[in-house]
Structure formats: C-alpha cells, structure tokens
Symmetry: C2
Subunit: 428 residues, 2 copies
C-alpha cells in the first residue's frame, strides 16, 4: 500500500496498526532496523490530548505522536479537532532554523493521520517529574531563556519585514480549538463557579470563594485574557509549562507546541516562570526525612531568575544584531546620537515583557490550583491538608502578582516576596 | 457577453469600456435607465490609488470605483496589487450590519475587474474640501464617533467569541500592500532622509532636521509603528482621514476602506482626530479679509473633542449592552459587587485608546507635513511663508503629543494646549 493511500483516512492508531504507516518510511525503517512486525511498541502518553508511542527496533527507536479527535482527559464527550498536529509541525518548522537542538528532530508528519514521527528523547524525562523528584538541571534555565528569546525574536516584526509575520498570522489563526481551551480554561472558568473546576476541598474553599469575589483580581485576569487574544507579537508555543520540556542533566528539549499561535511573548515566558513557581510552592509536599527540600526550593527560585535574565539578555542581543524588521526600523536609529533613545525604548519593551510574564504566570498558576487541569506537583501530595497549605500559598502569590503589579517591578522583588509571603501566611 | 466572461481579465476601465460590465447588471441598468451608450460617464478620481467614475443615466446615477495596479500618485513605477478592492468590499460587508447609512450602498463588486459599483453620493463633498472652505457639519463629529465605536466594537473580542475575529484576522492578513504603505510612509520615511519625503523648504528645514535628530521622538513614533502591527483589537478602516469622509450638511459617509485590516482602534481614532487638528492648523492660511477663520478653528476643536466624547460614550454603552465576547467575559462580572471593578477596567481601556488616538494622530500629522503624501489643507496655501508657519505649529504639537504624553491625559489638556502652544510659537 502506498503511503498516500494508507494515510487518507484518519483512524486512531494502536500498537499494531501504527506499524504499517510507520514502516512505509524507508528512512524510519532503516533507523529502527528489523521488520515492522518485530518492533516493540508501547503507548506512553500521559498528556491530555494525544496518543504517544515509543517504537523500538534492533537498531534504534522513534517516538510517534498522534492527535486525538477529543480531549483525552475528558474523553470523546469533549471533541477537539486533531488539526492541531498540523500546527505543531508548522510551529516546529518555523522555529527550527533558530532554536537548534532545543526541539526534537522531526522525521515525518502524516497529514491524514495527524501523526508525527520524531526523535525519541532518551533518557530524557519530563521536567515536571524531575522537579518533583528534586533533581537539578544546570543548563535548564539558560536553555529555555535562550529558546524563548530566539523562537520569539525571529518570528516577530523586529527580525523581518512584517509581511512574513502576517503570513504566519493568517496560517495560525486557523488553530482555534487550542486557543479556545486557553481562553476558557485559563482566563474564564477559574474565576467563576464553572462545573469544570475543582480544588482541594474543604481546605481551599474559603480562598477560592474569596478569589471569585475579588473584582479587581478578575479584572486583572480579564485584561491578560484580552492581551492574550490581542497582541500577536511573535509565534508562541502556547503551552510552555514544565510538562512541555524534556530534560537530561545536560540536555533540554521543548515539545508539544500544538497550542502554537501568534500571541504575546509574555505568555510563553509566564507559562515557564509560573510553573517554576508552582514547583517551588509544591516542594514542602515532597519533603522527606532526609531532604526538607529547602535547598531545592532555593535552586528553583535561582532558575526562575536566571531564566528571565537569560531571556532578557539574549533578546536584547538579537535585537541589536538582527533587528532588520519593520518594528523599530534600523533607518531611524542609525546615527550614534540615536543609540540612547533606542536603548531606552528596548529597555521599556523588555519591562513590558517582564510585567506580562508575571501576569500570565499568575493566570497559569491560578488555573492549575482552582481550574479544570491541575498539575501533579500538587496532585501527588497525598496529605490534603499539606497540599492545601502549599496551594493556598501559591494562590496568594498569584493574586498578589495580578492585583499589586507595582510591588513587582524587578526580579529581585519577586524572588524576595515568595518566601516572605509564605512565612507570613504560615504564621497566621 | 455574460458577466462571468466579461470580468475574468483585469483591464483598466475608461469612460467607454466600463459601459459593458456595468450595463450587465440589470438592477444597475434599471437604476440608471436608458441605454448604456447614452449614459454620461466622467472620471473624477482625485485620490492616490483608484479610478473613480460617475455614471449618469436618465433615471439615476452610480459611482464606479476601480483599483489600479499601481499607486496613482506615483504612476506605474510604484506597483500595488488591485486586490485591495476585494478587502474594501470585505470591510464594507463586515461593518455594514452595524453602521447603518454611514457607509454608501454597495450594488456590485466585480472580483475580476477589482471594481465596485456603489451609491453615488450627491451632493456630498469630501470633508477635507468642506473644512478648507470653512463649512460646518453639525452631525459630523457625532456621526464619526458613533461610526468608529460601532465598527470597532462589533469586530472586536468584546462583542463576539474570538473565533470570529480570528477568521477575519486570517482574511485581512492578506491585505499586505496597503499595510506596507502605512508602515513605510507613516512610521518610517518621515523620520529619516528618505528620497520620497518633501516639506516646505527652506521654511521648515530647521524643524525637519531637528525632528530627524530627536531620538526620543523617533522612539515614540517607532513604538506606535510597532503597536500598529501588533494590536489587532478590531477591524479598522486603516485610512480614516478627512479625505475618506463625504458630507452634506446633514449626512456623513465613510468611504475608501481599502487599507482595512485588524489593528489598533486608536489608529482609526487618531486618523480622524489628527486630520481635524491639521485642519485647525491650516486655517490661518485660508483666512480672508471677511473671515479670519478664528471661529471656524474654534468649531473644529469643539468637533475634535465631541468626536472623542461620542466615541467614548458609545463604545462604553455597546460594551455594557452587547459585551458577549471572550474579552472580559460576562460570567466573571455577573455579581453586583463586580460592577465597580469592571467599570474601572473599562475606563482604563478607554484611557489607553485615548492615549493611542493621540499618538497615532501625531504620527499621521507628521507624515502629512514632512513625508511623501501631503494634504491640500496646507498645499493649497500659496504663500510658502504662511504655509510654513502653519505647518511648523502643527509639527510642534505633533512632537509634543509624542514626546510628552503625560501632558495630555485628558481632552481638555489637548484642546487647551493647541492655541496656547501656537501663540507661544508665534511670539518667538
């Protein structure tokens, strides 16, 4: 059967039925070695949206990811177009020239099956798992800071004539179902009594009720929701939390960009930053007799800071070296006496990205604490009282970030406030 | 010949060759009456981009507008796709349900000829001409304020689920050539020694040199240029100056939306506001022995203020009555105690639109004073010294708006500053 004929109709693959379509690719067959019927295949998906298979042959292995036509966490009752697999591949193609080995190698994309054959990352694990296990990754913060800087700068109007971004904007404007999920689950549901929400109860009942009565907080969240839909600064990953990063001690890879669209750069920054903070707040729940996790917490906050500083430095360096786009056109700032004004404008722009990062981080934290989809950083804490205390601290910080942005103008202010506010809350 | 066959190939129409394609439409033939060969046809286009014909028959008349494949003001050496005619029609279709008779009736759009048959507006004249002639239009400011409020609100995420805007975003993202003109001629060329620029010389030489050395001014203009490309808040007209409005004493119509795209609402606000200010600054050049134009100037400033206040009031009323979109979702603010927070967020949003209006107005003023395309408000002032004085005052105000936005937080501050700064400049 030809590849063409085999792929036309969408069908959900399983460990047997994927051997045919995968085996059709001579290069994948060569990479795996042996015969398709002898390959070891196992489904390992633990996310909300896809089937993920590891296929192992005598010579090597690949990862096969297929988009499901519904939200896996909810089952077929929540349909969702598998088209997002197309946009995942379009995102990888768009950023690949700039981010080097920070994404997996893509071998094939099957448009009919919404299925991607890609590099198997091994012995990588999901960053979120590593952080829960108390592991450290010395390159992580710099790698992701560099990643966001490069992926976003080179898909913005700072780097290229605007026509290029407008073409991308038109393409990714069709990736609506993931954006609908973000709009509903991040920027709406957590702030009212949606039946999709859940929280640690009764421990968080009071805090959640207070959150849903907090008009200024809801207005701030709504402003970030509006910003999410109204500032296509760059092609963003759209879901860059610690479950979308795979790591070894020395290697970092960004995966799962199916929520990709043109949006605010701060949304990617905030996803990663906010999930580092969630990890920090969950640490007491993972303490053992041998490890109180205080050192791990300190390390996590250092990484949060290093992530931002790396992003900031790299983004500014790219702007200075590759600013050939229509935004801040080079022709306006070519004389030596213009350098100071440009530098000041660049600093102001980075300040808005910093504020956006904090606001989006707060929104991402809140949705993981009181919304539909939670994170195992907290869910794996068995003791509900302990879990509730961790979550309440995180929730208080997120509220402060949204309602008192004037208190968080620098990274030092943020990093100082986190343990201080938690101590204060514990003393109550 | 069938309509289909006749329209396939693009060709520039003239007073004779348009009779065929127009006459193919039975309803247009009925409206005009008589035989096509007997119709009176004259070309009346005075803009930069199109042929415009008035076709008169014994029963009535229509206007026929055809997009040229080049920039008319520059000639065939500056090619420009006639596709913009398609987007002009797409814009009219998108806003027609909301703006009532503030746009002309569209009878037919011929996709092959990039040609629109529309209502002939008579005895309307171009607003810019009326303002130069010292005429007053009692409904104008309220009509255009209402127009921008309705056209922008109902194409924003405040009114509808975001998917609707994303579809529009994808469509209008293809209207790149007009956006390229805006990006180059408004946000770049005026700020450096582009060969396309001109200004009243030598009278403005010094002011223009100072403008092009002013780093903070250029950074401010560049920020608005970046905003223009990065904030698709609504479907904007894209060129809403006083040459895109036709008026009688009682009727107001918005025409020529071929620059339409999803952009910042402040861009339309600023286009109209900035061109009212340009008209104010040009008034001394049109004074006669019988009319010093001081009264007309006062009336113009009152209209500028009334335009904004109408827009603001109407936009807020639409938000309160029709806010069914994903931005600021109603579910978050349904309790009575949420009303204050929502109102405060609405005021803050309108404040950003006000600041955007002033910034974009300043950019639009500067490009008409020192860039490629000027306005007849000034060009028709024969005395170059007088013209230069008028233009220098306008230029000084535009620079102040861009570099000292903190001095212009309210309409009263703007309206007070205009004559005051001009008196101060005259006293030098």
């Amino acid at each position: 059967m030809t590849e063409q004929a085999r792929s036309t109709a969408y069908r959900t693959l399983d460990s047997e039925s994927l051997r045919g379509p995968i085996g059709d690719h001579a290069d994948v067959r060569a990479l795996l070695g042996g015969r398709p019927q002898d390959w070891q295949v196992r489904e390992v998906g633990d996310g909300n949206l896809n089937l993920v298979f590891i296929v192992e042959g005598p010579e090597g292995s690949v990862c096969v990811k297929q988009a499901l036509p519904y939200l896996r966490a909810a089952g077929p009752s929540w349909p969702m177009s598998p088209e997002r697999a197309f946009f995942e591949n379009a995102y990888y193609s768009a950023v690949a020239p700039y981010v080097g080995t920070l994404i997996p190698k893509i071998y094939h994309y099957d448009a009919g099956l919404y299925c991607t054959v890609m590099e198997r990352l091994s012995p990588h694990i999901i960053l979120r798992q590593g952080l829960i296990a108390g592991r450290r990754y010395p390159n992580l913060a710099r790698d992701i800071g560099e990643y966001v800087a490069r992926a976003c700068f080179f898909t913005s109007d700072l780097a290229w004539p605007f026509e290029r971004k407008m073409d991308g904007l038109a393409l990714f404007a069709a990736n609506k179902p993931p954006v609908r999920i973000t709009v509903d689950l991040i920027f709406a549901d957590p702030y009212f009594a949606s039946p999709r929400n859940r929280h640690t109860s009764p421990q968080l009942d009071e805090a959640v009720a207070a959150l849903r009565r907090d008009g200024p907080l809801k207005a701030a969240a709504a402003r970030f929701g509006q910003k999410f839909l109204n500032e296509p600064q760059a092609l963003v990953h759209g879901d860059l939390h610690s479950g979308s990063v795979m790591v070894t001690e020395g290697d970092t890879r960004v995966i799962d960009p199916e929520f990709a669209f043109y949006g605010p750069i701060g949304f990617d920054l905030g996803a990663f930053f906010g999930n580092l903070l969630l990890s920090w707040y969950s640490q007491p729940g993972h303490a053992t007799r041998d490890d109180d996790r205080l050192g791990h917490g300190e390390w996590i906050l250092e990484q949060a800071s290093l992530f931002w500083e790396t992003f900031r430095g790299r983004f500014l360096a790219l702007w200075s070296g590759h600013g050939k786009g229509d935004a801040f056109p080079a022709a306006l700032f070519s004389a030596p006496h213009d350098a100071a004004a440009l530098r000041s404008a660049q600093d102001a722009f980075l300040d808005t990205l910093f504020a956006d990062m904090l606001g989006f981080a707060a929104c991402k934290m809140i949705r993981r604490l009181v919304g539909f989809a939670h994170v195992i950083d907290f869910d794996s804490i068995r003791d509900a009282d302990l879990r509730g205390r961790c979550e309440a601290s995180a929730l208080a910080m997120a509220r402060a970030l949204l309602t008192h942005p004037e208190q968080f103008r620098s990274m030092a202010q943020v990093i100082d406030a986190i343990p201080r506010m938690t101590r204060r809350q514990a003393a109550r």
